[in-house]
Amino acid sequence: MRPGRIRLENWFRSKGWEPLRHQRETWEAYLAGESGLLHSPTGSGKTMAVWGGPLIEAAESRDEERALRVVWVTPLRALAADLAQGLQEAADGTGCGWRVELRTGDTPGSARARQMRSAPHALVTTPESLSLLLSYPESRKLFSGLRLVAVDEWHELLGSRRGVLTELALARLRALSPALRTWGLSATIGNLDEALEALGCGAAARIIRGDLRREIEVDALIPGEMERFPWAGHLGARLLPQVLQAVEEAGSCLIFTNTRAQAETWFRMMVEARPDLADRIGLHHGSLDRAGREEVERGLKEGRLKCVVCTSSLDLGVDFSPVERVLQIGSPRGVARLLQRAGRSGHDPARSSRITCVPTHAFELVETAAARDAVSEGAIEPRRPVRRPLDVLAQHLVTAALGGGFHAEEMYREVRSTRAYRDLPREDWEWTLDFVARGGKALRQYPEYRRLEETDGFYTVTDRRIAKMHRLSVGTIVSDAELVVRYAGGGKLGSVEESFVSRMRPGDRFVFAGRLLELVRVRDGEALVRRTGGSATAIPRWMGGRMPLSSELARAVRRRLEQARDGLYEGPEMEAVRPVLELQKSISKIPGSGELLIERLRSREGHHLFLYPFEGRLAHEGLAALLAYRISRLQSVTFTLAVNDYGIEMLSACEAPLDRALKEGLLTPERLDEDIAASLNCVEMARRQFREIARVAGLVFQGYPGSPKKLKQLQASSGLLYDVFARYDPDNLLLRQAREEVLDRQLERERMRQALERMERSTVTVLDLDRPSPLGFPLMVERLREKLSSEKLEERIRRMQVQFSTPRRRRKAA
């Protein structure tokens, strides 16, 4: 055995570990000069599998010069410190003398400067910090001796623009250090081949699967009185006593929620119901102050906390020993997420993991049963990589120009070596280069938009102001304007969206960080608060997409429903939900797989049409707009549209010509693109999407740190930006990108197409109801609505009324 390997394995044994098969295999592959992707569940030793190879090399090399050898990219800044510590410990254990350092947004300037002068052997960083590093000319020398770039939690980056930013950075690193090996670390996902391709390490790269295979148990808390269990809702408060009992019985417990607001609510409810447990329950989500979050993580690690209510903030990484029990409030919406969360319990390979779903409404019992089916079939969702986003490319080109400059032709080849841009047409490339270099067609007349200088096809940046502004803007994470929440006495609690605070007045009460607070005043981008008693009036909501039910889970739900249609109720969840489904049968019917159910209902509000494609809320949003558009072409009508994961509601004041629409191709997948595009013009989504794109492409500068006020008058809303471009520069490719992204990512065009194809083949059953069915009811009470109209605005206005303000009612004393 190689001497380096012996030292590494000795260290392993000193920790009481035995190298696992996938760890040995990865070391060998790395040492043979290979690149690849390693996938396995959390807690299976992926880090040491990838880190071992470079350590073996280092331990064997005598005259190891001081140079940067490994870059370790992690998506979560919060995890970087723990990770670096773990890597350092292993390096020390093999006695190779390597130094591991951090470089993230939190790294102080002095440390960064030192790293440039005297590089550590390994650098733990984020995609944004890596990209930033590439914007310095000195980075060329820094990266020239690089041996490995490892990308942690690759599945997490893959489906986002951050993944594309990483792809471009990897291509850059390979250009600077041609012998570089690339390894991705990933949870198991449905499209590992694409994940490997996106790492860009060539055809010879390989996929290694981790050993750990554990049984996963999925069950649900069954409501005691099913007759009184709601058909709609998202809170699940009714099961609070059962949740508290589960918490009490377990030694330690994690309660996952789907949103931050839901985590706040549950934490509050639990503490109010059991004040004696208040000190032993923690709250953890992404908007809380870091110090507070770390305190909770420590509390869980050290056993001071018995239970933590959290969001996806605890999905990834964070190294603490497994808890005894994991609960999930509401639907997990996807199999991969369910597995990830389940993996938080019982890390002991001998034991199984268990996750208990807490339904917030009746149909989530069906979802739990369906999730169990999907888990046992191994139907895990893919993470689809983003295709050639020009905003990220624009940003990268400025980065590369700053980092020493580039030749246009070489850069075009380099960019096309990534998966994201492998089919980037030359015209799009030239448009993007022209856009960053000269401001594009619409702005050529304004010299101040020449961000790049060109000499004989070589592009650089010389303007220091441009350099500074660009470096402050690197990255693809766009956050809403946020206000820091702080005690009037000093301590920081976290942050909430500005729009939430702007609706409040001093003296208003709200719940945040698990505490009941009163707004004292807003000053300099901070909301000053004090603790208060009584009851809260508000809980902040944070924007951010609600995850749709995944295709995999949706398919399993449809199957379970079909069984129920045939009278087959298998398992405790289906037994429990049986009365609701039987009621659905008696009022309407339960659709089978080859059947599309449309319900018609007349109520005080107007005429309702309910359709149930079961394709998840995103695809439903698109389908709703599409179907409403197609109907509205037959007759002048105005719809308000509501969707959930199961279906669509179209509501109108007069009856819509459904039968005629069905005859004339309502469900045809033909002309899908044109019709979606037309219906999309009627809704607002592209405007919203443009905000991110504009910011990433450098159209919007978010300001220098510490000077938010001065720029206030110059802040433009994204909607305004979209309008300006749509009117005065309609051929801008970034607009096209916004529309495409809305279609692909927000409306899931592919799922829409598949759904339409399925629906067209299905038997359509139209039923007229005299009261809402259990499936339809949740849609009726859904408040978020889009509008689609073929009526003139004037006609609509004639039916509408102004909301006059009523004198402010006195609030009830607590």
């Binding site: 401001g439 594009g440 619409a442 702005l443 007349q445 304004y446 101040e448 938009y449 502004m469 509000e605 107007g606 005429h607 105005t638 719809f639 308000t640 509501l651 109108s652 004041a653 450098g698 159209l699 919007v700 500068f701 720029l711 008058q713 110059l714 433009a716 809303s717 305004l720 930006l721 309008d723 300006v724 471009f725 009117r727 005065y728 520069d729 609505r785 509008k787 003139k792 605005l793 004037e794 609509r796 206005i797 004639r798 039916r799 509408m800 009324q801 102004v802 909301q803 006059f804 303000s805």
Partner: protein, 219 residues
Amino acid sequence: MRGAFALGVRGQELLLLPGKALWWPEQCALVIADPHLGKTAALRAARMPLPGGSTSEDLDRLSAMLDATGARRLIVLGDLLHAREGRAVRTLEAVSRWRERHHELEIILVRGNHDSRAGDPPVEWSIQCVDEPFALAPFRFRHTPDGNGGDGYWIAGHVHPAVLLRGPARLRERLPCFLFGPAGAILPSFGTLTGAALVRPREGERIFVTADGAVLEVR
């Protein structure tokens, strides 16, 4: 006037125009609020690479209304220019050309909060700049709305008002509006890219919105 809504206020006839302006025939005066000229130029100065064109479009719309009414006087209720940074050469030239076209027009600017930062318009434009209120009986023209006090009916801007309408089948519509109360009125913002803020009118206020080229009263 096509699409206009005629209204009697303190014995005067006023016409609300779909181009978001107020026409006062007796004084031959056209009144607009919050044009925020040069807003995109100001954003450009902050290095947002925005294409131009909004200022000239707004000026064209204004010209069309001036021609149609034959106005001899234009009263601007504040925020003529958006920001000091927006005083770009192109913007100023566009306004100068527009001014030459309407050289006989008397223009009065009631200074608003943006004007105090952006500075008075160039002298060549010969715009008479006054601080609020500018009285022309029976009205007082202001930038900011002015409660119930004072003599005469006030007409102001500043708010960029929009109103929320609701209808059957959960229909909602948010539209810029004219707001006429018992003591004063607020005009919608004239500029295309100026945004709007939702107001909740009180009982007794009359609200007018623009739809399909006509001004309609909503209740």
